[in-house]
Chain length 251, copies 2
DNA sequence: TATCAGTTATCTTATAGAGGACTTACGAAC
DNA sequence: GTTCGTAAGTCCTCTATAAGATAACTGATA
């Protein structure tokens, strides 16, 4: 009816969806498309508000939602930045839940044991939304706290997304694995779901983690997703919890 | 200087703290004091804004923070309600992370094995901020999925907060254990921190969970806190993960 | 009595604008 | 050359107002 109402950008939505959520989705789409790269600053809030033809408060609320999701980081007086795995050495604990029992916050060392090309098992294909037998990369790495091996991860990646990933290329990179994926392949790990069980160490795990065969280990299966909840990593980890634990906050 | 500026309620804060956070803290204090009981409705936003002498938008932002913390629940057109453990049978999964591997969302049955009075061990006293030897209650309960025991919990509570807790009284209550604590003793479980390890089943656990002695189990140590991060529950659980898993979301 | 429409109360979203706080850069003063 | 203050840009907070959405209540009507 009143098509030229002054300040309503898109009031003609048939089903009700708040304007700030529409703006949020437009921003997510641009982030996913790479319009602003990780670490870069977004345009100012006033600029974006003008661009989307909404009030500054509305745009601000949309960015609030993105910041709550850790998609962007606000810095007062400077600007709003695309979140990245490369800086935030502290915030990197977002995806690393293993801690020393003593409370020491040392950052573990990562040692790549093996990189192989292979085909997705039925299991892996289901969890990664691939066709069975599709090409994947298999990494095995060990995390060491203070020189002692604590975590052994088996990582499965869709080969199509990580063309050119080699052992030497990873070892040339200085930083976390998700930082490596982000800067070298443009794959952004955003969320993850983990399923945890207790298992007995088999011979291989016992050797890599230096525990007795049959010793109880934490088995962590992680499916990591990127924009649109698309799964892009399957990670099966075995954690030796003699002097470390998996830390989790509820509520 | 300009003391009679028109629209600034309390701009005279010496060190800078946003007004909406001050309002939030006042609201938390009233919630902690029990001015509004769990399940009850808060006064309307306009009422509260007038009471605290702030603009509706500011009060709204304070309540937004409370809702994000799960302290209150908003219901459009009805009002804002104090969160409770007694309803939300679905949201009760907030503190229950064990799931069936098949994805069935059945709610487990709880069987109280034992209730004892005792004295806090050095360990328990430290985690619960009690003096060693202070009076505590020790509960042991088993969670059963579909009739099969899966979780065995040893729960330590400060006796001072749970006067009159007996086995029969718990069994007379219909609902979750945290709902029981809330309605019968006024103790609200708000947050929890968990430390997870893998251990081998001892004789007692093996019997209760019907697994072989030495079988790997998840050992979950939970410290639950109420207002002001005061610890009020210590819970050591053993989870049999043959057909179940601990589910966790990151990011 | 039962049902339906209107009213009211409430949360929810959106707009506009003013001023505060933080960071950075630039230029003047020493 | 160093230091300091100012200015600009940006995010941050708060206020004020209005209208849409949802649910409960009220009262008239069949």
């Amino acid at each position: 009816m009143d098509a030229d109402r002054p300040h309503a950008a898109a009031p003609a939505t048939p089903r009700y969806a708040p304007l700030y959520q529409q703006v949020r989705e437009m921003l997510v789409a641009r982030l996913a498309a790479g319009e602003w790269k990780p670490g870069e600053a977004l345009p100012s809030e006033l600029d974006l508000a003008a661009r989307f033809n909404v009030a500054p408060g509305t745009l601000r609320k949309a960015i609030d939602a993105l910041a709550a999701q850790n998609l962007v980081v606000r810095r007062q007086g400077k600007g709003t930045y695309v979140a990245t795995h490369t800086e935030e050495h502290a915030s990197s604990f977002r995806f690393l839940r293993i801690r020393s029992d003593t409370g020491a916050t040392e950052y573990p060392g990562s040692r790549l044991v093996d990189v192989r090309r292979g085909r997705a098992s039925a299991d892996a294909a289901r969890l990664l939304a691939l066709k069975p037998g599709e090409a994947v990369l298999q990494l095995r790495r060990v995390l060491e706290f203070d020189g002692a091996p604590v975590v052994c991860d088996d990582i499965t990646l869709p080969a199509a997304l990580f063309k050119g990933l080699t052992r030497t290329r990873y070892e040339a990179y200085d930083g976390s694995m998700y930082g490596f994926f982000e800067t070298e392949f443009g794959v952004r790990m955003l969320k993850a779901h983990e399923r945890i069980k207790a298992v007995a160490a088999d011979a291989t795990a016992a050797r890599l983690l230096r525990v007795a065969p049959g010793a109880p280990l934490l088995a962590v299966e992680r499916v990591t997703t990127t924009f649109g909840d698309r799964p892009v990593e399957l990670r099966r980890g075995l954690y030796a919890t003699a002097h470390h634990h998996y830390s989790n906050d509820l509520g």
